[in-house]
């Protein structure tokens, strides 16, 4: 049987790994390449890198946060090239993808899939064009959602800064129809808060689609992963911060998923 995937998500800003909170605060955690060996040792199911750099600036001159023996990556393409030489697991890269050429360049360097967000909302036909060119399996549409004070959900664009007026379940269905292979669903208000996934949000999107949904945003403890799968119905569960701040959190999280009877690797 197909296993539930547990996926570390690495957010990158100006070339550095960051911890993210509500899409607004970002704490620098250092050179992203220093973590790569650890993911291999842990046999992680898959990795997702998302570049949230708002401009084109990569801060390569800082040497206070680089790991010993690791060069500072010059840009996201550099990171793809270096990670894919060492990690023989599915690699997804997102952020700043606007053209088919952007996708082609990432796949050619060793990415297996890309996530598209802002461009998909700006021009939904881009999803179809990308799926026709590279296959649906390579195209993940990432959906950032904010829960408004009145309890309604709204899709945001531009790194979670701009409301779109779209509801997540409807947009998810549309991206599926347009050819996306998977959905990466992130909750802006849960991001970095460690208060668990927004299970209601996940359930709404899962129930309205037939493609795999990767849930992200809010994991604070290992039990949250199991709830994302069992109660939310997600095919895969993802998180960023928890894997940075707890020793051995990945293998221990897998163990906890097994304990509650879930089928993981």
């Amino acid at each position: 049987m197909l296993k539930n995937r547990l996926i570390p998500v690495l957010f990158l800003k100006h070339g550095w790994l960051v911890r993210s909170e509500q899409f607004r605060y970002h704490q620098n955690l250092g050179n992203p390449l220093t973590q790569v060996g650890r993911y291999n040792t842990w046999n992680v199911d898959e990795l997702i890198y998302i570049d949230i750099t708002p401009d084109d600036h990569y801060d390569i001159l800082r040497d206070d946060l680089g790991g010993v023996g690791y060069e500072n990556p010059r840009d996201i393409l550099d990171i793809i090239r270096l990670v894919s030489k060492e990690c023989f697991m599915p690699l997804t890269f997102g952020g700043k993808i606007r053209t088919l050429e952007d996708i082609r360049r990432r796949l050619a360097l060793g990415a297996d899939k890309v996530t598209i967000n802002t461009q998909a909302l700006a021009d939904p036909s881009f999803i179809t064009a990308a799926a026709e060119e590279f296959g649906s399996q390579a195209i993940i549409v990432s959906i950032d959602v904010l829960k408004n004070d009145d309890g309604t959900y709204e899709v945001y664009t531009q790194l979670g800064q701009e409301p779109t007026g779209r509801t997540p379940a409807t947009w998810a269905k549309e991206v599926e129809e347009r050819g996306a292979g998977e959905i990466f669903l992130n909750s802006i208000d849960r991001d970095g808060m460690a208060n668990g996934y927004d299970l209601d949000l996940i359930r709404r999107v899962v129930d309205n689609t037939h493609i795999p949904v990767i849930a992200c945003g809010g994991v604070g403890k290992h039990q949250d992963f199991a709830r994302g799968i069992i109660e939310g119905g997600a095919s895969a569960v993802a998180a960023g911060n928890i894997f940075h701040f707890k020793e051995m959190s990945y293998p221990l999280a897998k163990k906890d998923l097994k304990k509650v009877g879930l089928n993981v690797r």
Partner: protein, 206 residues
């Protein structure tokens, strides 16, 4: 001497496959010109994307006939994911398309039970049952998980050519072997240690 030729069919994840052989210290190169194929001892046909586009690319570059020629001379070949599907006689993705015809069989859409847990594409790690002994399985345990991502699968193929299956709603063809022709529906280059072992086993066939 082992010299792997990785065929560039335009839309495949060549770098990942090349990286895997580099990591294993196995001599491998990306082949862009079909006339160069005779130089290599083993061929790898990688692939992601759609059947129709894959065949169009192989045809446009002249790789279709060149690959068939080399394989008919007895050269070992392995198709990975879409590459395995292209070895078939036909594929039905975006209309019926003729394949390379090296494996008798057709590639059809995965039929799933109507339950929300079965989604398409079939993405993720799934256990592979080893139905037959094979040189590809050397040092790989039965029921090892490999990474799959696909929506189409071999629908009809002689049983004796199926050496591995996986279960997603029903049994499906995961690995094929016919003389010196091999194929994996999963991505060994993305399946960590066990996937690398499988590629190594292929490279060590003579």
């Amino acid at each position: 001497m082992t010299h792997i030729g990785i065929i560039d069919c335009g839309i495949s994840n060549l770098t990942s496959v090349k990286n895997a052989f580099d990591y294993l210290c196995i001599n491998a190169e990306i082949v862009r010109n079909p006339h160069d194929l005779p130089r290599y001892s083993h061929l790898v046909l990688p692939g992601v994307g759609a059947f129709r586009r894959g065949m169009q690319n192989l045809h446009a570059s002249g790789f279709d006939e060149a690959v068939v020629d080399e394989v008919q001379k007895g050269k070992p070949v392995i198709g990975l994911c879409l590459g395995m599907q292209l070895l078939a006689e036909h594929g039905e993705e975006f209309g019926i398309t003729e394949g390379l015809g090296l494996i008798p069989g057709d590639v059809v859409k995965l039929q799933l039970p109507s339950s929300p847990e079965f989604r398409l594409p079939h993405v993720g790690w799934n256990d592979v049952q080893q139905l037959k002994t094979s040189r590809l399985w050397r040092s790989i345990d039965d029921n090892t998980a490999f990474y799959f991502v696909h929506s189409y699968v071999y629908g009809s193929i002689p049983d004796e050519q199926v050496i591995g299956t996986a279960d997603y709603g029903s049994r499906m063809v995961a690995v094929i072997e016919h003389e010196h022709i091999f194929g994996t529906q999963f991505h060994p280059e993305k399946s960590q240690k066990s996937g690398l072992q499988l590629l190594k086993n292929f490279a060590e066939l003579c």
